[in-house]
């Protein structure tokens, strides 16, 4: 369990994390989303005490991270993949960290095998590819058999096989009752793994929701109905939570009722429908919609340069 309360981090007059509160619960995969520069990594660094908050607090299993007797057993982290001395072998890197907690060599071999690094464990980390570096980072995170696993952009640089591996791994970790937190700037990827979503932009909380709710809302583009008797159908569909708009006199955009309901009502009343289409918005589009105003590095529309030239 990670609990952040009014977490704030300022560097000079730049506020990177702004009054952020959220909870990461055991047994769930929590996706921590935001555009680049939203403050995800800074928040994660504060969780494990690498940076101290300007204001507010964050606790891991009820206490601040540094107060734990065996921190690596509480929370295993992958921050940036390059948190490793390139001159050391993967085995020696893991063993050095294992020594601090009295973690036996057996466990080091175990996580090396789990991460699929057995054949390269003796090689200098400096010679690793990005994907192998990520695997080593994940092995490091799992070293202390932690109750919480926190990974910053774990699928970065992994091949499709690796991405699938991470996805299954995180799911099984959550199913074992661990809390899993992973950050990403890719909504579609995260939605496949996560149960819960914490979305931030410019350091502020934008949404704290479940993937199901988010998907539903994203799908909440309404349902387009086309019929010759639009006026009649409109009054039949009306209800307390239903909003209906129309762009022409044969078309309705209904939200608050699903397609099945609308079809049934129309059939009951003998209204013929030409079209009944859920207006799906992709998760990525919904995410971009949510974060549009808070994107740190906004790219100019593609055509501006051509106009200028």
């Amino acid at each position: 369990m990670i609990e952040a309360r009014e977490l704030t981090k300022r560097y000079g007059d730049k506020t990177v994390v702004d009054n952020l509160s959220f909870t990461v619960k055991p047994g769930e995969v929590t996706g921590f989303l935001g555009p680049n520069g939203a403050g995800k990594s800074t928040t994660m660094r504060m969780i494990v005490g690498l940076d101290s908050p300007t204001k507010g607090s964050v606790t891991v299993a009820g206490r601040s991270y540094a107060k734990h007797a065996a921190p690596l057993h509480e929370i295993g982290t992958l921050l940036e993949a390059k948190s490793v001395h390139p001159g050391r072998s993967a085995f020696n890197h893991l063993m050095a960290l294992a020594h601090t907690h009295g973690i036996p060599r057996r466990r080091v071999d175990e996580v090396i095998e789990l991460a699929g690094l057995t054949s390269v464990a003796g090689k200098r980390v400096g010679a690793f590819s990005l994907g192998m570096g990520q695997r080593l980072g994940i092995a490091t995170a799992l070293l202390g058999d932690p109750a919480i696993v926190m990974l910053d952009e774990p699928v970065n640089g992994l091949d499709p096989e690796g991405v699938l591996w991470v996805r299954n791994l995180l799911r099984s970790l959550a199913d074992e009752g661990r809390a899993v937190m992973l950050s990403s700037h890719l909504m579609s990827e995260t939605a496949l793994i996560a149960d819960h979503l914490v979305i931030i932009g410019r350091g502020r909380l934008l949404a704290d929701t479940t993937v199901d709710d988010f998907t539903q809302e994203a799908g909440g583009g309404g349902i387009r109905v086309a019929t010759a008797e639009a006026m009649k159908l409109r009054s039949l569909l009306a209800g307390p939570d239903v909003t209906i708009t129309s762009s022409s006199n044969e078309e309705l955009l209904v939200s608050g009722r699903d397609a099945r309901e609308i079809g049934a009502i129309a059939a009951r009343n003998g209204i013929a429908l030409h079209e009944l289409t859920p207006q799906s918005v992709s998760l990525e589009a919904a995410f971009m919609d949510l974060t549009r105003d808070v994107v740190e590095y906004q790219s100019a529309p593609a055509d501006t340069e051509r106009k200028a030239a």
Binding site: G27, G62, A70, P71, H73, L79, G87, R88, S89, L97
Partner: protein, 293 residues
């Protein structure tokens, strides 16, 4: 009770209550950070880098090589021409000072070794892994110092002894020739090892304080080699008072066989140099504790 039922689905001891008793699960698995374990980790880290072996090897090699060469190329006539009588001042040659000619070079090597051990973690990002494992942080600094100090002490004392012994045939028949059993010889050679091990710890402290290898090495070289020279620009009276207390001058008093009149005694030299190192360590500890990694 509903709360117990709920907790049972979590891992044992994963209690979100702020005022809990010690976690049962940590004692069950016996994973725990202790000072000895951090020391063990730093020991393993030190030896698992090729750069440690190389730098350490270079330090000992320079120590032995320069000492032996100086002894073999020594000629009584050359010194008799210019300098005052032997035994008078620190500028004179004796068998020990010749054998320890390489100390200055070796001190740079072991200082750099210390810097790399500390600042190297910042340069590579390893520090994030280190401090995530030891979030109390200070044990990391003490352990680095406690690992590098004794390693350098042992190897450089051996190096100094080797330099002296290798140089002895070169001074055969010279007036200044000494043997290991002579007064103060062993003390001086061991003193060189003590000085070099303190320099290595000084390097660790500088590396932790400055966090950049290049910056820390620059300060190391500046403090050990350039500072005494710069200080000669000071007014004479002030210079005379301060000169023996500069780090490298206090340090060289530790391993000089014959003390010049204006230098500190070996004991005072150790104390003063150790004081400088302690001061830098304190600064490093403060920064490590207070600022973001």
């Amino acid at each position: 009770m509903p709360t117990t039922a709920l907790r049972r689905t979590q891992r044992p001891g994963k209690d979100d209550n702020l005022s809990t008793a010690p976690d049962p699960h940590t004692s069950a698995t016996r994973y725990k950070v202790t000072g000895i374990r951090v020391l063990r980790s730093e020991w393993a880290k030190f030896w698992s880098l090729r750069s440690s072996w190389i730098t350490l090897g270079v330090a000992v090699f320079l120590l032995v090589l320069f000492g032996a060469i100086a002894s073999f190329t020594y000629s009584a006539d050359a010194t008799a021409g210019g300098g005052p009588a032997p035994g008078g001042g620190s500028g004179d040659s004796d068998a020990v000072s010749l054998a320890l000619t390489g100390v200055t070079f070796a001190s740079l090597a072991v200082g750099v070794l210390g810097v790399l051990l500390a600042a190297g973690e910042y340069g590579t990002g390893m520090i994030r892994s280190t401090l995530a494992a030891v979030p109390r942080r200070l044990p990391v600094l003490w352990s680095k110092a406690a690992v590098i100090g004794p390693i350098v002490l042992v190897l450089t004392v051996i190096g100094a002894l080797a330099a002296f012994q290798l140089g002895t045939p070169g001074l055969d028949g010279e007036k200044i020739a000494l043997s290991l059993g002579d007064d103060g010889v062993l003390r001086s050679l061991a003193g060189a090892g003590v000085y070099l091990s303190l320099v290595a710890v000084f390097g660790v402290a500088l590396g932790m304080l400055i966090r950049s290898s290049a910056g820390a090495i620059a300060v190391l070289v500046g403090t050990l080699l350039i500072l005494p020279g710069l200080a000669s620009l000071l007014p004479d009276s002030l210079y005379d008072t301060m000169n023996p207390y500069f780090p490298s001058n206090a340090g060289s008093a530790v391993y000089a066989l014959n003390q010049s009149s204006d230098a500190l005694s070996p004991g005072a030299g150790i104390a003063v140099f150790a004081g400088w190192v302690a001061l830098t360590l304190a600064g490093a500890a403060y920064r490590l504790r207070k600022s973001d990694a």
